[in-house]
Amino acid sequence: MGAAALLAGLVVLAAGLELAGYDSGAALGALWSGAFGSWYALTSATLVRAVPLIIIGLGLALAFRGGAFNIGGEGQFYAGAIAATWIGLSVGGLPSPVAVAAVLSGAVLAGGLWVAIPVLLRVRFGVLEVISTLLLNFVAEALTSLLVQGPLQESQRIYPQSDPIAESARLPLLPGTRLHAGLLLALVGAVLLHRVFTRTLWGFRLRAVGLGPRAAEIAGRIDSRWMAALALALSGAIAGLAGGVEVAGVSYALFQNLSPGYGFTAIAVALLGRLHPFGVVVAGLLFGALEAGAGAMQREADVPAVAVYVVEAVVILAVLLAEAARRHGAATLASLASVTRRAPG
């Protein structure tokens, strides 16, 4: 299903480009070679792009499975990146493993703190997390912009970016490439999350809440409100980690446009991966390739990189439609689950 959805997305892209007067063959060719054309493209473009998508996507899979809609991955990513930069600038004297650990745990904490606002609003005031996480994305982007032109601006005070973080706070690279150890972290995270989902009581409860909060409360005596809140909090912390990994592994500094919409693309990644950790890894690699190829497409075929958003959107819509068709054809169990999911307030 995922492959068919991706194909649908690419077909729509090609047709759209052809209609708009672009050379769609050249565009798709550039997309392919930019993503898989060489060892360097694969490691330094595709895999580097895939890392934040996989990490945020894993967190979103956790949130969505627990019945919490986190649309704020983008903001939490920035919160993590800000904390990572701040810490990374001041840990020069520490040995590398300690410095890296400090940077990444600071990022996790910042992501968790940033998402604590929607968690609190949901638990205490019944505000839909869909709206609150979305709104906080814009606050985080403005905050980043404020910081890189203010307290965190580089020492020359010319460019809207921070100074580079200490060498010791950076993640190790695969020699000859830009691929960093964050990929390992993402893969280990996927395995861990899979074990949590399948081997722990907590994971079972979480999935029960996501499938039907009322049923989970009545039959399983699970406090579904708190489970969903916890899932939301964890997903925010994980998105924060992705921001820290991006700073420590790729950018080494805070920029205004550090993320090309990773938090939104990760929603497509989580969904295309069918909220399964290994599915998220595969989907993250695919979308990493798409985003890496998009850059090449813009450079070589003069097609705006944002065009791949259309592919992503078509993929999401195709997956939704396919799921609807399956639900319609098969048992009513799945639709029952979505009917019982009710908005608080």
């Binding site: 969904l271 959107a313 819509l317 009917v339």
Partner: protein, 303 residues
């Protein structure tokens, strides 16, 4: 500086900035009353903005606004097809629609106007002063000296109120949002009602985007809606799903966003990013204060 002139200028700016929010939120209120939350609103607004720019460049501002309405209805129709026709998840479908709109508008804009289209200068909708009323002190320029979309937005408030609370169709729409199963049993074609409400909401959002381009900025920029569609959704909640409440909340947000101009006029030096944050932070605070005490349509967001 004359204090009166400062207040007048601030109010006029507040209403001008509030207009796209008022239009988008009014339409979204109708959709939400029928049980549909369209997170694609941001994308629909953005699409309306580009459609208005293209239409205005070719045929003038009024046609541009019309093209924007049609474009908004079309994109909202796609959302309705997926979210209502196929009963897919509204939140995710809406996110996808916004993503698609960002990609589409960016691609089409660069194709139509070139990568460096910043200098794009469009014919705009000029202010239409209401004779007599626009001369009123303080409130005159704010409410009666604006371009046409402001009047459309202000007139939509009583019209939507009348439709929702005084017509049979409005009753059917509200019933669909409160208890879809019951409405269906009493003969209401709920899918059709929701689709229609969503498409009408899309038309409003399209016009909101057009307002941004044709009555405020005078040009199109990528992602120029900058979250206004999402703020409009928050405004619907703050306005308690009531057209008058939505109008008041819109004006409140317009005032918050216009503070930037007031501070500039007064020569106060505050980082502009604080003003960028303000509406969103304010929305969160207001939501926290208001949500516990209001009730959403009971079947909101359910397929």
């Amino acid at each position: 500086m004359d204090a009166m002139a400062v207040v007048e200028g601030f109010l006029a700016a507040a209403v001008r900035v509030a207009t796209p929010l008022l239009l988008a939120a009014s339409g979204e209120a109708v959709a939400q009353r029928s049980g549909v939350m369209n997170l694609g609103l941001e994308g629909v607004m953005l699409t309306g903005a580009l459609a208005a720019a293209l239409g205005a460049a070719a045929w003038g501002p009024w046609t541009g606004a019309g093209v924007a309405v049609v474009a908004g209805m079309l994109l909202a129709g796609v959302f309705a097809l997926v979210a209502i026709g196929a009963r897919a998840d509204q939140v995710i479908a809406g996110t996808a629609i916004t993503l698609a709109a960002v990609g589409l508008t960016g691609t089409i804009y660069r194709q139509a106007f070139g990568a460096a289209g910043a200098g794009l200068d469009l014919p705009t909708l000029s202010p239409l002063a209401v004779p007599g009323l626009s001369q009123l002190p303080v409130l005159g320029p704010a409410f009666f000296g604006q371009p046409a979309p402001t009047y459309i937005g202000l007139l939509a408030v009583p019209v939507i109120w009348w439709f929702l609370f005084r017509t049979r169709a409005g009753l059917a729409l509200r019933a669909t949002g409160e208890a879809a199963a019951v409405a269906r049993a009493s003969g209401v074609r709920t899918g059709l009602v929701r689709a229609a409400a969503t498409v009408v909401g899309g038309g409003f959002a399209g016009l909101a985007g057009a307002t941004l381009v044709l009555a405020q900025v005078g040009t199109f920029a990528e992602r120029m809606t900058a979250g206004r569609g999402y703020v409009a959704i928050a405004i619907v909640v703050l306005g308690r799903w009531h057209p008058v409440g939505v109008a008041l909340a819109s004006l409140g947000f317009g005032a918050a966003m216009a503070l930037q101009f007031l501070f500039q006029t007064l020569g106060l030096n505050v980082p502009y990013q604080l003003f960028l944050m303000l509406p969103y932070a304010l929305a969160l605070l207001a939501l926290a204060g208001v949500v516990g005490r209001v009730r959403a349509p009971a079947d909101l967001g359910k397929p």
